[in-house]
């Protein structure tokens, strides 16, 4: 273990205890007749942030992801050092900021998570079914993918968001994402736009970014993937889109599907030029 990992390891207990305390406080406040007020919730999160100084539990996931990246795994017992995230085999720094993009070897537009899955399949010999079986982790069942994503996106901090739109397939993914964003369906007639096309709105106390405005997309996109305090887990963009569709009362989008990748492409392209600042810590 490298010194930085050991230091991260020592912080682990403190961070997770603090996270659990805040999650519990939010849960207790939410269980009463009233939800916590915006100020109370914000104060709780600020208290948590102060407790951690500049630390974010996402670091723990990133450290585990780095180990996973370097460890020979899968039926082929290969590490991911040969994985090409778009900037050449093994290059991690800045790679996430340039996704989603077209990958000629796979013949599709991929977000970072789809690309990692591709490498796990082709280099390590994992089956697609195994990778898709439990992509979103829980306390009892940590997700390797979430850790890998945490590692890879952390290595894009400070890089400008720059997904390619040079190829027609990349432009088609953007166009599809834009159409899907507006598609109303289901028992409540919801689309992504229902909640994300006006300024300054909220659901309960949760503020909603207006994702039809570049400024808001940039702020939202450069914070994701993120550590979710209320869930006590690191969450990826695949999870973010999946959970929005759950709340829209849609059926479930398949993990890494064209639909989810297209929506991520749409947001990434709208956020082009903004500096990646994640992974953030979210309520």
């Amino acid at each position: 273990m490298k010194p930085s990992s050991r230091k991260t390891g020592r912080r682990a207990q403190k961070l997770l205890r603090a996270g659990a305390a805040v999650a519990a406080a939010l849960a207790v406040a939410g269980a009463g007749a009233g939800q916590p007020t915006a100020a109370e919730t914000q104060a709780e999160i600020e208290r948590y942030r102060a407790m951690l100084a500049e630390d974010n539990p996402a670091e723990l996931y990133a450290a585990r992801g780095e180990e996973l990246w370097n460890t020979p795994r899968g039926p082929k017992q290969a590490a991911l050092a040969g994985c090409d995230l778009g900037l050449g085999p093994g290059v991690v720094a800045g790679a996430y900021a340039q996704t989603p993009r077209w990958f000629a070897d796979a013949g599709r537009v991929m977000d970072i998570e789809a690309r990692l899955a591709w490498c796990m399949e082709t280099l390590q010999g994992f089956s697609a079914a195994d990778i898709a079986a439990r992509p979103f982790g829980s306390e009892d069942h940590k997700s390797d993918m979430e850790a890998l994503v945490a590692y890879v996106v952390t290595a894009s901090r400070g890089y400008p968001i720059a997904p390619s739109q040079k190829l027609p397939q990349e432009r088609a993914a953007y166009a599809l994402g834009k159409s899907l964003f507006a598609l109303r369906a289901g028992p409540y007639d919801f689309s992504c736009q229902t909640c994300h096309s006006q300024d300054g709105k909220r659901i309960r106390l949760q503020e909603l970014p207006n994702l039809t405005r570049r400024e808001d997309v940039r702020r939202a996109y450069t914070g994701w993937p993120a550590y979710r305090v209320s869930q006590g887990e690191f969450r990826t963009m695949q999870w973010r889109i999946n959970d929005c569709f759950r709340q829209q009362r849609f059926p479930q989008p398949k993990y890494l599907s064209e639909t989810v990748n297209a929506l991520i492409t749409y947001l990434a392209v709208e956020a082009t030029g903004a500096t990646y600042n994640g992974p953030a810590m979210k309520r």
Partner: protein
């Protein structure tokens, strides 16, 4: 209703210029094809949720701003399908209405089939002054009954708004709670009481 039929309605019944939006139709068709390929049924959320009805089709096609003739036609259809309560008995128990207004549960794939569907009111509306955790996507309904009274017309109008918001505003963001079957008659009566009862915290 298919997109082709909605275009036919537009072209044949209303004589409107439909050709310029054909590119949107292609994009919408592509999006629906992708969705039908990429979504899977889970729990109570089946793939039939991607079968669009006339309102959804028209609102999608015209980016929530369809030609006024088409709006009127479809709103009238939606209004005609509103079922009003037996014997004009609009008002139930405001306490049960409050519980429904608070609950945002139901109909997601993670809700079991036995989960009672909530009214979701506080997700988008301000209601009782004591509840500070309200959403702002919809208008404030604070002191709803106190401000507006409870005339028969208002009771009927409000019932129809909860039952099917699209009957008065075709591409409204608000779900069609009665029309979709999310809420039954008894539940809508309780929510009505929460809005109108003088004892309800909404009016105190």
């Amino acid at each position: 209703m298919s997109i082709r039929i909605s275009v036919a309605i537009c072209a044949l019944l209303l004589g409107l210029p439909c050709a310029p939006a054909l590119a949107d139709d292609a994009a919408l068709r592509t999006a629906l094809e992708a969705a039908r390929r990429d979504f899977e049924a889970r729990g109570p959320a089946g793939l039939d949720r991607l079968d669009l009805d006339a309102v959804q089709t028209v609102c999608n096609r015209w980016a929530n701003n369809p030609p006024s003739e088409l709006q009127s036609l479809l709103q009238a259809e939606q209004l005609a399908a509103v079922k009003y309560p037996e014997g004009g008995n609009y008002l139930g128990d405001w306490k049960k209405g409050e519980a429904l207004a608070q609950s945002g549960r139901g109909l997601t794939w993670s809700d079991g089939a036995k989960v009672a569907t909530g009214g979701n009111c506080y997700n988008c509306h301000e209601l009782a002054s004591t509840e500070l955790a309200y959403g702002t996507l919809g208008p404030s309904l604070a002191r709803y009954g106190q401000r507006r009274g409870r005339s028969p017309d208002l009771l009927r109008y409000t019932w129809a708004k909860i039952y099917n918001a699209k009957a008065s505003s075709l591409c409204s963001n608000m779900p069609r709670f009665g029309h979709s079957g999310a809420l039954g008659e008894a539940q809508i009566r309780h929510i009505m009481a929460y809005l109108f009862d003088p004892q309800s915290p909404v009016n105190r």
